[in-house]
């Protein structure tokens, strides 16, 4: 009986994955592009950069310490190796393919429909889920010994949960308390754990052993705290799906847009470097042996 129920749940996914394979032409209606808005955003960004550059030039002499930190070079010797530590490469590549197929058949079409909803509604959903992560951030900042930041996350949570109507409006950001999420993976990094082997997680995407442990722990904390009974019972499936769709809709990435068979290698390279940059911000970078793969 249980097996039948599972089969019925999974059937639409398999149908979607296998369907359309033989059609000559497949049409995908996409949310309209908004180049005027994009361009306006790009212009604003450039103006902000120019203002920053001007402010830095004017205030450079006053804030010598900060200028020194910006200019302190990371030398070539400190930079990591070009190769990624990927002992599970074969499994990872198969998982990457599974994720690509699932994304194309199920996740992305749903996210594209979601993107058509009015943006204030989507912003509300995004704020709501972001607000829930503040609980984990408070705990993890405490574990990292960064109590000031933890207090800010707590402040954000209290303000947004009350004045922000259950987290739907990010009031705290307007009160100069911007989002600064952290998780258990960052805590592990703070405690000195290496990223470990590169790992592609089904449905989730690029990760490492450390990140995977972190994600599992973050979910464990959410499940344990079970804020407003959101993480247990049938409603947790619906909310979990909405959260996943909202996150996907906010990620501007499509599998194999590059058309290249080397995409997996490029993504693992960039992902690992992103982690190393985060690590470098937490710990002063040491001399690295360039022959040791990045992440090991």
């Amino acid at each position: 009986m249980k097996a039948t129920r599972w089969a019925m749940r999974l059937a639409p996914i398999f149908l979607a994955l296998s369907g359309c394979a033989s059609q000559r032409v497949i049409f995908h209606s996409l949310p309209p592009e908004t180049p005027a808005a994009d361009n306006a955003a790009a212009i604003k960004h450039i103006q902000a950069l120019m203002a920053q550059a001007k402010a830095a030039a004017e205030g450079g002499a006053k804030n010598a310490k900060q200028a020194e930190a910006v200019e302190a070079p990371v030398t070539a010797a400190e930079a990591p190796s070009m190769t990624t530590y990927d002992p599970w490469g074969r499994l990872n590549r198969f998982t990457y393919r599974f994720n690509a197929r699932f994304d194309e058949a199920v996740f992305l079409p749903v996210a594209n429909h979601y993107r058509r909803l009015p943006s204030p509604l989507r912003a509300g959903v995004n704020n709501f889920f972001s607000n829930l992560t503040e609980v984990g951030s408070v705990i993890n900042y405490a574990l990292q010994g960064r109590l000031g930041r933890g207090a800010k996350s707590l402040g954000r949570f209290l303000i947004n949960s009350t004045i922000g109507i259950g987290g739907l409006i990010d009031v705290a950001a307007r009160l100069q308390l911007p989002r600064a999420p952290t998780g258990f993976a960052m805590t592990l990094s703070q405690w000195g754990m290496h990223p470990g082997p590169y790992a592609v997680i089904p449905f989730y995407g690029p990760s490492t052993l450390r990140e995977a442990i972190g994600v599992a722990a973050d979910y464990g904390v959410s499940y344990g705290v079970n804020l407003a009974d959101l993480y247990r019972g049938p409603q947790s499936w619906g909310l979990g799906t909405l959260n996943a769709v909202d996150q996907r809709a906010n990620i501007d990435f499509r599998y194999y847009d590059t058309g290249s068979p080397f995409e997996y290698d490029t993504i693992s390279f960039l992902y690992m470097r992103k982690l190393l940059i985060e690590d470098a911000a937490l710990h002063p970078p040491k001399e690295r042996n360039p022959s040791v793969p990045a992440g090991k």
Binding site: F27, A42, A69, A79, R90, L91, P261, I277, E278, P290
Partner: protein, 442 residues
């Protein structure tokens, strides 16, 4: 006795193979002049950063868009490592009323939905065109799904493949789309492709192309890529070491930026910020341009090697499968130049299939001169280029001016595509496609 017979047979086989082996093909002649062509310092920077957003022409607020994924009737079997490229992916923006269609072809190695294409799409849609954007015939998705050879980079063959693809796409457009006229345009290599497509249509009459516009086109394909090879060798050196150092430099700058701003993102703006502060000298900007070209070439090389069975980086008897690591192959390919692609993959493939052709005729067929008569006599070919474009030298620019006469606009800034979408370029483009262009008015 048996052993000696086997040995003799093997020796005879080896000798006959050696005798039958084709003589090595010489690479295309070295590109004359500077590796950076006509580009000066400002042109290199404009090429890397593109058109400043504040200079871009007014764009419509929203552009409707749908994607078409097509299975081509003539598609070849898809190699396992290219499982995701079975269909040709193109994008279409439809007007609600009868309208002319503008088909835009992407630049070398790029797909049909680049930022540059988005800008052109928005501009042309805003001007009342249906807009179809298609990938370059050198984009791996096109090579696998659509190319009739799998060996991309030959201007005429790529033109024929593109033409067939366009006919197929238009045949499958929704019925409510009513097309009154067809214009073809493209940027960079896509510009040359657009002109070839119009010339093919002049004899096949399946698309009824009216006007063709080339934006920053190359004049001689092999001279251009030869120049980019030279640029790569000068700025990054041979092999991996130079590329590693270049990546490391960028990485180091990203780390510095993170420390300064407490922000971790790998989006375009962040990388642009990193590039802006990490790249300082002309050599570094040149290296960034050369590296971008080399990465695109890696895909073309890999696909061509796989399809032709040349065996340079792919063992034809044991082609890679889905779970196989390609990290080492990618590393080897980064060190391979276009000249090597020409001598080991492209030329052997086409010389075998075109009985009367030679290395020299192959090189000559990859110059725009191959449709020179049409470019000179047909008033519906247009071009826009820059006097400091790095893919041209002085002789190329002079040839374009002489051949197209009043149907070319030459701007004094922008390098290679660094002014695409700016007000002047857009206004002239719309005049050219609308048949209103007057040379003196620019």
């Amino acid at each position: 006795m048996k052993l000696s017979i086997i040995a003799l047979t093997l020796a005879a086989l080896c000798i006959s193979r050696m005798a039958a082996a084709d003589p090595p093909i010489k690479p295309p002649p070295a590109a004359p002049g500077l590796a950076t062509g006509l580009a000066d310092s400002a042109a290199l920077r404009a090429t890397v950063f593109g058109t400043p957003p504040q200079d871009i022409a007014p764009l419509p607020a929203k552009v409707p868009l749908f994607e078409m994924d097509l299975l081509m009737p003539w598609a070849r079997p898809v190699p396992a490592v290219f499982w995701f490229d079975r269909r040709l992916r193109v994008w279409f923006s439809a007007q609600p009323k009868p309208a002319p269609l503008a088909i835009i072809i992407s630049g070398a190695g790029s797909d049909g939905n680049t930022t540059k294409l988005s800008t052109l799409r928005a501009v042309l849609y805003g001007a009342g065109y249906h807009v179809l954007t298609v990938p370059s015939p050198t984009f791996p998705g096109f090579i696998v799904s659509t190319s009739s050879t799998g060996v991309a980079g030959d201007l005429l063959q790529d033109g024929h493949d593109l033409y067939a693809a366009m006919v197929e796409i238009i045949a499958h457009l929704p019925r409510k789309v009513q097309i009154t006229d067809v214009d073809v345009l493209g940027y960079s290599l896509g510009g040359a492709n657009a002109a070839i497509v119009k010339s093919i249509d002049a004899s096949e009459h399946k698309l009824h192309v009216h006007r063709a516009l080339m934006i920053n086109p190359p004049v001689s394909l092999f001279a251009t890529v030869g120049r980019l090879d030279k640029l790569f060798a000068i700025t990054l050196g041979k092999g991996d070491a130079g590329i590693e150092l270049f990546y490391q430099k960028l990485y180091a700058q990203l780390a510095n930026l993170y420390r300064a701003s407490d922000r971790v993102q790998l989006d375009e703006d962040f990388l642009l910020g990193a590039a802006a502060s990490a790249l300082k000298t002309d050599a570094e900007f040149s290296a960034a341009i050369a590296l971008a070209f080399r990465i695109a070439l890696s895909n073309v090389f890999f696909a061509g090697d796989l399809y032709s069975g040349a065996g340079v980086v792919v063992d034809p008897k044991h082609p890679p499968k889905v779970g196989d690591s390609l990290e080492e192959t990618a590393r080897i390919l980064r060190g391979k130049s276009f000249s090597e692609y020409f001598t080991k993959v492209l030329a052997p493939y086409y010389l075998k299939r075109r009985p009367n052709s030679t290395r020299d005729t192959l090189i000559a067929q990859n110059r725009l001169e191959v449709i020179g008569d049409a470019l000179r006599s047909d008033p519906d070919y247009y071009a826009q280029t820059n006097s400091n474009d790095l893919i041209l030298d002085a002789a190329d620019l002079a040839w374009l001016k002489t051949t197209l006469g009043p149907r070319i606009a030459v701007y004094d800034h922008g390098g290679h595509l660094g002014n695409l979408g700016d007000r002047q370029q857009v206004s002239d483009m719309l005049d050219m496609l609308g048949g209103r262009w007057q040379a003196g008015a620019q």
